[in-house]
Structures are given as structure tokens and as C-alpha cells.
């Protein structure tokens, strides 16, 4: 049976090649021995997704890892799917998570989830992301925050705000605005910030609080317009857009973009990942990306400092959620 022999030889070769690629040499210094799962707790096209894909590409381009990073989107349940996945991966050295603020809020709101983020292994904070309030450019009646608030009040609950899920940062920001301005809107969740942006441009929703990266191209094309930014100072990319504080409303909100490992990641692996992401953070490409996309990337926060940052942010979110009420966020 020459065909069978050929087939078996072929299979053996294939398996051989596979095992060579899986089993690397065992050094004292830790290195990935198999592809690293790069978990994104949001859908495709959103800010976290773009960042993960950029970092993955930079890792390949600069040859920083002997094994590739494979981005995997786990957007389910406002990031609950990703958090549970990471929890199940306890002790695994080949999985890292790119976070949003739902990293804090989802475990607070979904109490039966059983996820304690303080058990995770903090690696490094890549950036602080910012938010703006966006409406469609055709909406000529709305030109600033005041006319926006008036329009929302007139529409009542028929006003549709798109977001990425109950408990995600955009839903918190929406709840903060509801309590500040005393109106109530209908919040509609979509899988990922890119889809939210698209639905604003398609006029299926009335406003969003997208990150700059998600709306920038539509803004440049004249299809959407920002009304106000939720930063302490005006961003370089949006010099003409006022901040909420300037207008007398104390709404400032950031989102951290950090890299975290599962609980019980080995110290050697953690050290390797901190080195890796520090290199990426300092790279020209990353810093350029930060400027273009309105991210704040001044300070590198890693390891235990990041753990302290997470603890403080966790507290702040607990207070925020208590002040606006979890029901305001989940819409229940």
C-alpha cells in the first residue's frame, strides 16, 4: 500500500514539525513555550481590540517573543466571559488579558460571578483611555452640551444611547450623566465599540460615549461630531472641544488599558511579561499610537504598583456604582 505509507510518512512529518514548534528548549529564564492567548474582554473593532492587535503585531515585528500572541475576543456578559476564562486558567503562564474598566465593574455588578480580580496577576498598564460624547454630524440642532441635554430631555426614554454592555464603562458614564443632568435614556448594548460607532453612523442610536479611537475615522470623514470630553484638560487631538469640567459639570472618567495574567502565574513568567510590555510601552510605535488616538501614555505602572492602582480604582468604582445605583447601570 504505497499510498498509505506516503500518507503515514506525511502525517509523521506534520506531527514532527508540530512537536518541534510546541516544545522549545528549557532555559532558566522563562520564555513562552507555546502561543500566548491574548484575551480581549470586548468585541472586535473596539478600543481594547485595536490595542491588542497592534501589540500583537509589534511583538511579531520586533521579534520580542519566541511564540506568537494570538488575540481572542471574549466579549460575553460585559467581560464576564473573559474574567471567568482567566479565572479558570489559574496557574497558566500562557494567557494574558487586555482590560477595560469592566475589569472592575463586572465583578461588582454581577455578584454571583465569583471572580476576585485581586487574585489576578497584574503585569503592566499600557495607557489611560479617554471618552467623548458623540452624536451624528447630521444632527444640526445639537451643537453643544446644553442643546444635547435639551434634546435628550425632550425625547425622554426614546433617546437611545449605544454602548458595549451593562456595567461597561460607557454604561457607567451614561449613568453618571443621567444623574448629573436628571434625565433618563434607553441604553442598548452592542458587541464592541466598533459596532457601537457604526450604529451611530447608521443612525440606529442617537448618541454614544465612544473612545477617540472608535470614532476618529468617522469624525475625520465628517460623519460624527464630539460635543464634550470627559478629561481634566482638553486633549491635543481635540483642541476645540470643551471638557465637562469647563462647563461646570464634574464628570471626569478614564479607562485603564492594562495587561493582567491569571491567578497564580509564575514569578518568572510575570517578570518576562513585564519586560516585554515595558519594551512595547517605550516603543516609538506605541507612543505615536497614543498621541493619535487620544490615549494618555505618560507613566508606566507595573507589577505591585499596578495592583495598588487596581485596588484604588476598584474602590472608586464601587463608590460610583453605589452613588448612581447598580440598577441605573444594568437598567433593571
Amino acid at each position: 500500500m504505497p499510498t498509505l505509507r506516503k500518507f503515514l510518512v506525511g502525517t509523521a512529518f506534520a506531527l514532527g514539525a508540530l512537536s518541534v514548534s510546541l516544545v522549545g528548549p528549557a532555559h532558566a529564564d522563562w520564555k513562552p513555550r507555546k502561543p500566548v492567548e491574548f484575551i480581549i474582554m470586548a468585541g472586535t473593532g473596539g478600543g481594547a481590540d485595536q490595542i491588542a492587535r497592534l501589540l500583537q503585531g509589534l511583538i511579531e515585528k520586533k521579534d520580542l517573543s519566541p511564540r506568537p500572541f494570538i488575540p481572542i475576543n471574549k466579549p460575553g456578559g460585559s467581560g464576564a466571559e473573559a474574567l471567568l476564562y482567566l479565572k479558570d486558567k489559574a496557574g497558566d503562564d500562557h494567557t494574558v488579558l487586555v482590560t477595560l474598566n469592566s475589569f472592575y465593574t463586572t465583578p461588582i455588578i454581577q455578584t454571583d460571578l465569583g471572580v476576585d480580580i485581586s487574585t489576578f496577576t497584574p503585569i503592566g498598564r499600557m495607557a489611560l483611555d479617554t471618552f467623548l460624547l458623540w452624536v451624528h454630524a447630521d444632527n444640526t440642532e445639537i451643537t453643544d452640551l446644553d442643546s444635547y441635554v435639551a434634546a435628550v430631555k425632550a425625547a425622554g426614554t426614546e433617546w437611545k444611547v449605544g454602548g458595549t454592555g451593562s456595567g461597561q464603562e460607557d454604561s457607567i458614564l451614561t449613568a453618571m450623566m443621567e444623574s448629573e443632568f436628571g434625565y433618563e435614556v434607553t441604553y442598548i448594548p452592542f458587541p464592541g465599540g466598533g459596532t457601537v460607532a457604526k450604529n451611530l453612523i447608521g443612525k440606529h442610536i442617537d448618541s454614544t460615549v465612544n473612545n477617540p479611537a472608535e470614532q476618529n475615522e468617522f469624525y475625520r470623514a465628517g460623519q460624527s461630531k464630539p460635543l464634550v470630553q470627559f478629561t481634566p484638560e482638553r486633549m491635543a487631538a481635540y483642541p476645540d472641544i470643551p471638557t465637562a469640567q469647563e462647563l461646570g459639570h464634574d464628570i471626569v472618567y478614564f479607562m485603564q488599558r492594562s495587561i493582567n495574567g491569571p491567578p497564580g502565574m509564575s514569578a518568572e513568567a510575570r517578570a518576562w511579561y513585564i519586560d516585554l510590555f515595558k519594551t512595547l510601552f517605550d516603543s516609538e510605535e506605541w507612543q505615536t499610537f497614543c498621541v493619535e488616538d487620544g490615549l494618555t501614555c505618560d507613566e508606566w505602572v507595573a507589577g505591585d504598583d499596578l495592583a495598588a492602582f487596581h485596588a484604588e480604582q476598584g474602590m472608586r468604582h464601587r463608590e460610583l456604582i453605589e452613588s448612581v445605583g447598580a440598577e441605573a447601570i444594568t437598567g433593571e
Partner: protein, 513 residues
């Protein structure tokens, strides 16, 4: 129009530059084999190959990745037909008729049909892409949640006829699929649902490939072993040039369903929510509904191979559109292409077409060339793939078994899914034995989550008013088409009965009117 032609000519010339041409040929060949390996779908293929692209300029790199993607779409059909294991989710519908054809010794016909239908689908869609990209990008924007839901209803309607005459068994099968699709975390609130035995593996939902590989790979293998006792050599190799030409000429028997599938696939592919898998399933459903001989589908109808293959290739071209113009990848693979673009400083968005025409038209030009090369490479390899089937089934069965295990493990890399896959295998075997159609269950698990999300989003935005689905023109059209499709088999049955009655009395020979 003239500007389009000039840009296209520029793009084609670019694709024929030696380096780019080399990338196309290499990409197609690699993609073909990546796609043919169950579990190693185009997602992994493109991810693993991303580093190679840093050695060449951005345009050559994206051309390479697009060629891999294209090749993998062709390749997915190969394991679907020869082994009965869907190589990728997009090739599941190809198993429905591809496998029966292979068992009947017609694997070469099925593979040729798949290759040619893929070529036609690719060509039609890339022409549509060239001519109508900007208007279609606007059309995709008009698709909000109500339109998405209406499209899903339409997709279900195309499958009503799939189960043959036994409507209750079809509905039962769809319901099983819908229940499995509901497992996991609630889409809106994030609360866990249907977590059987508190197994944490269910929190991630039931992966559609796990179900498809189980039912088709394992279930069919058990069925074949039982019915033949393993004493069957599936295919006697009798490949000849004359036979090959005959296979090519038989294209006229499936050209109608192929063209329909191509156009449908392209449109579904351009919608960010859908993608190639629903497109191929819908195309299969439509081909069956409008066939003169719907009963032969699922038993080895060549059009049942051609229709989904045309659609999945067309959809893969279509899904480039939302990626380029909206920055929303229509499929996991285009998501990786998107990553590549961001690294090269190409920001997808409405301005990319005007600001970087060299890139966009280079990509479009390469799609034409890649399509041509993939069909040639694919046709050349068919004799090799058919040879696999000359192995005795007692040798083939363990190989299928191992490939199924690998394919079940690969997507999520947990043993939970492997056990689940084996369970579905036994379930598929039992359903087959009890004569339940399994295709509707597969359809339901693909479309269920999409339908649920868009239904709930629509009702949230309309404050619970269901009229939202008929008040908007696009969704109303889809709903009306769906209603017509659901009633069509009833209408046919009614006409047949009336004709039969007319025939009995012998008075009105042309009563069908």
C-alpha cells in the same frame, strides 16, 4: 465608472508585480492546506503567518494574508467532502451533500464542483466589490438591529424545507439547536444561563464547530461503520482527463444555484453582523427550496455542494468591505487582517478608499488574481485529495476520529469541548438512526445567538414594540420574503394536489395557471 476601471487596472498591474504574484501563489497554496485541516481554520492560519508579512512591504503583505484567507475558503471544502469533517465553520453546509457524494464514489465531482463554484462566487463578488463598494458600504450602515433580526428570520425560513416532509422533526431539530445556542452568558445582562451540572465549560457557550464536527465527523463515522461493517473502500480512483473535462462541463447543472449563492453570499458578507457561515447555510437552504428536486438534497446533490461554496467565497470577499470602510471585521479572519493594517499605519474607515487608493485597489486587484490562482491550484490537487478515499474505511475511521478530536480541541483548547463533541457524535448518530434531520440544528446554533441579540436590541430601542420589524423598509422586505419562503412549500404541495385532482378528473389539463 472610468475612474473605477483605471484604478482597477492599476490594482491588477500591482497584483502582477513579481513579488506580489509570488505572495499570491504562496498564500493560496498555504491557505488551501490550512483550510483543509479540521480545527486549523483560516483564523489560525492567518495568525501564524502574520510574522512573514513583516518581511515584505504592506501591500504585498496584505495581499499575502488575503490570499491565505481565500485559499483557506477553498480548502475548507476538501475535508468536508473527503472525510465528512467540516474543516471550518464556513464549510459545514458543504458536508450536507459533499459527504454523500463522496460515499457514492463521486468525490472528484464534488471537489471539482466546490472549486468551480468557489471560483464563480469569488469572481462575482469581487466584480460587485469593484463596482459597488461605496454604495454598499452605505447600505451596510442602514443595517441596524431590526434589519439584522429580519435577515435571521429570512435565514430560518430558507431552512424550513430542509428537513424533508417531516416538519415536526425539523422543528424539533431547530429547537435543540436553539437551546444549545442559549447556553452560556446572557447577551444583555451577562447572567449565566443553562449551565448544566455547573460545568464551567458551559459558561463559554456551546461552540458551533464542536457540534458540527461531532454530528458530522463522529456521527457519520459511527453510521458508516454500522451500515458497512468497515468493509467498504469508498472511492475507486478512476481519474482521467476525459472524466475531469466532464466534471468541468457539468457546471451547467449547478450554475443557477451557484450564481444565486454568490450574490446572496456577497450581500450577507458585507453586513458586519453576519459573515460567511450564515451566508453558506442560507445559500444551501435557498438552493434546496428552489430546486426542481428538493428531495435529493442531503443525499448527494451536486448543487448542494456548489451553492454553499459559492456563498462562502463570495462572503469572504464581502466581509472585506466593512473591514475597509467601517473598521469592523466581518469575520475572525478579517479581524487579523485588520490588525495587520493597523500595524502598517493604515487606519480603516470611510476615508481609506480616497486617502490610500493604492492599497485598496491593490487589494481588490489581488483578489481577482488570487481567485484565479486558487482555482488552478485547487483543481491540480484534487487527484491527491481523492486518493485519501482509496484507503479502506477501517484505516480511514481512526484517522477521522483523531482529526475530530483535534478539531474539537483546537478552537477553545479545553477537554470540555472534546467530551461535548463526542457526546454530540453519539447524539448525531442516534438522530440519524431515528431519521431526524440534523442540518436544522446546526443552522439554529449558528443563527440563534445572532437572532437573539438583534431581537433584544430592537425591542429595547422600540420600547418593546414589535412593529419595529415591519415599519422599516429593509426589515419589512426581509420579513415579507421570509413569509413567502415559509409558505412556498405549502403552495407547491397545494398545487401538486390540485394538479393531481385535475389529472384524476381529466377535465382541466392546464389547471396550474
Amino acid at each position: 465608472m472610468e475612474t473605477i476601471l483605471i484604478s482597477l487596472a492599476g490594482g491588477l498591474l500591482q497584483a502582477f508585480e513579481p513579488l506580489n504574484l509570488m505572495m499570491i501563489v504562496l498564500g493560496c497554496t498555504v491557505g488551501l492546506f490550512v483550510g483543509a485541516m479540521p480545527g486549523l481554520g483560516s483564523v489560525n492560519g492567518v495568525a501564524i503567518l502574520l510574522p512573514i508579512t513583516f518581511l515584505v512591504p504592506p501591500t504585498a503583505a496584505i495581499i499575502f494574508l488575503a490570499a491565505v484567507y481565500y485559499g483557506a475558503m477553498y480548502g475548507g471544502a476538501i475535508s468536508s467532502i473527503t472525510l465528512g469533517i467540516p474543516g471550518a465553520s464556513t464549510a459545514v453546509a458543504t458536508v450536507f451533500d459533499g459527504r454523500p457524494l463522496a460515499m457514492a464514489g463521486k468525490a472528484d465531482q464534488a471537489l471539482t464542483a466546490a472549486a468551480i463554484a468557489s471560483f464563480i462566487g469569488g469572481t462575482i463578488s469581487v466584480v460587485l466589490f469593484t463596482l459597488f463598494a461605496p454604495p454598499l458600504a452605505d447600505f451596510a450602515l442602514k443595517f441596524g438591529p431590526p434589519e439584522e433580526f429580519a435577515l435571521m428570520v429570512l435565514a430560518f425560513a430558507t431552512f424550513i424545507g430542509l428537513g424533508g416532509d417531516d416538519i415536526p422533526k425539523t422543528i424539533f431539530s431547530i429547537l435543540i439547536g436553539l437551546v444549545l445556542a442559549a447556553v452560556g452568558l446572557d447577551i444583555i445582562s451577562g447572567k449565566p444561563r443553562l449551565i448544566f451540572f455547573d460545568a464551567s465549560g458551559f459558561l463559554h457557550g456551546v461552540n458551533f464547530l464542536v457540534l458540527a464536527i461531532g454530528i458530522y465527523g463522529i456521527g457519520e463515522m459511527l453510521w458508516t461503520l454500522e451500515t458497512t461493517g468497515g468493509k467498504v473502500i469508498v472511492h475507486k480512483v478512476k481519474m482521467s482527463v476525459a472524466g475531469f473535462m466532464a466534471n468541468i462541463r457539468s457546471v451547467r447543472t449547478y450554475i443557477k444555484s451557484t450564481s444565486l449563492g454568490s450574490v446572496l453570499g456577497y450581500f450577507v458578507g458585507t453586513l458586519p453582523a453576519a459573515g460567511a457561515t450564515p451566508a453558506s447555510l442560507m445559500s444551501y437552504g435557498l438552493a434546496k427550496t428552489f430546486s426542481r428536486d428538493p428531495d435529493s438534497f442531503g443525499k448527494g446533490n451536486i448543487a448542494g455542494v456548489a451553492a454553499p461554496e459559492a456563498a462562502n467565497n463570495a462572503a469572504s470577499t464581502g466581509s472585506m468591505l466593512p473591514m475597509i470602510t467601517l473598521g469592523i471585521p466581518g469575520s475572525p479572519t478579517t479581524a487579523i487582517l485588520l490588525g495587520g493594517m493597523i500595524i502598517w499605519g493604515l487606519r480603516p474607515g470611510p476615508l481609506l478608499f480616497t486617502e490610500r487608493p493604492d492599497f485598496v485597489w491593490g487589494l481588490i486587484g489581488s483578489l481577482y488574481v488570487a481567485n484565479l490562482f486558487t482555482v488552478l491550484i485547487n483543481l491540480a490537487f484534487i487527484p491527491v485529495f481523492v486518493r485519501v478515499l482509496t484507503l479502506p474505511f477501517t484505516v480511514l475511521a481512526p484517522v477521522i476520529f483523531v482529526l475530530c478530536i483535534v478539531g474539537g480541541y483546537a478552537p477553545t483548547q479545553t477537554m470540555h469541548d472534546v467530551w461535548l463533541m463526542l457526546l454530540f457524535g453519539v447524539m448525531g448518530y442516534l438522530m440519524r438512526k431515528l431519521n431526524y434531520p440534523v442540518a436544522p440544528a446546526v443552522l439554529a446554533i449558528v443563527l440563534g445567538p445572532l437572532a437573539e441579540r438583534s431581537l433584544r436590541q430592537s425591542l429595547l430601542s422600540s420600547q418593546g414594540d414589535v412593529l419595529i420589524f415591519v415599519e422599516r423598509p429593509i426589515s419589512a422586505t426581509c420579513i415579507a420574503l421570509a413569509a413567502a419562503l415559509m409558505l412556498y412549500p405549502l403552495f407547491l404541495a397545494w398545487r401538486r394536489r390540485r394538479e393531481a385532482a385535475a389529472g384524476d378528473s381529466g377535465s382541466h389539463p392546464g389547471a396550474s395557471g
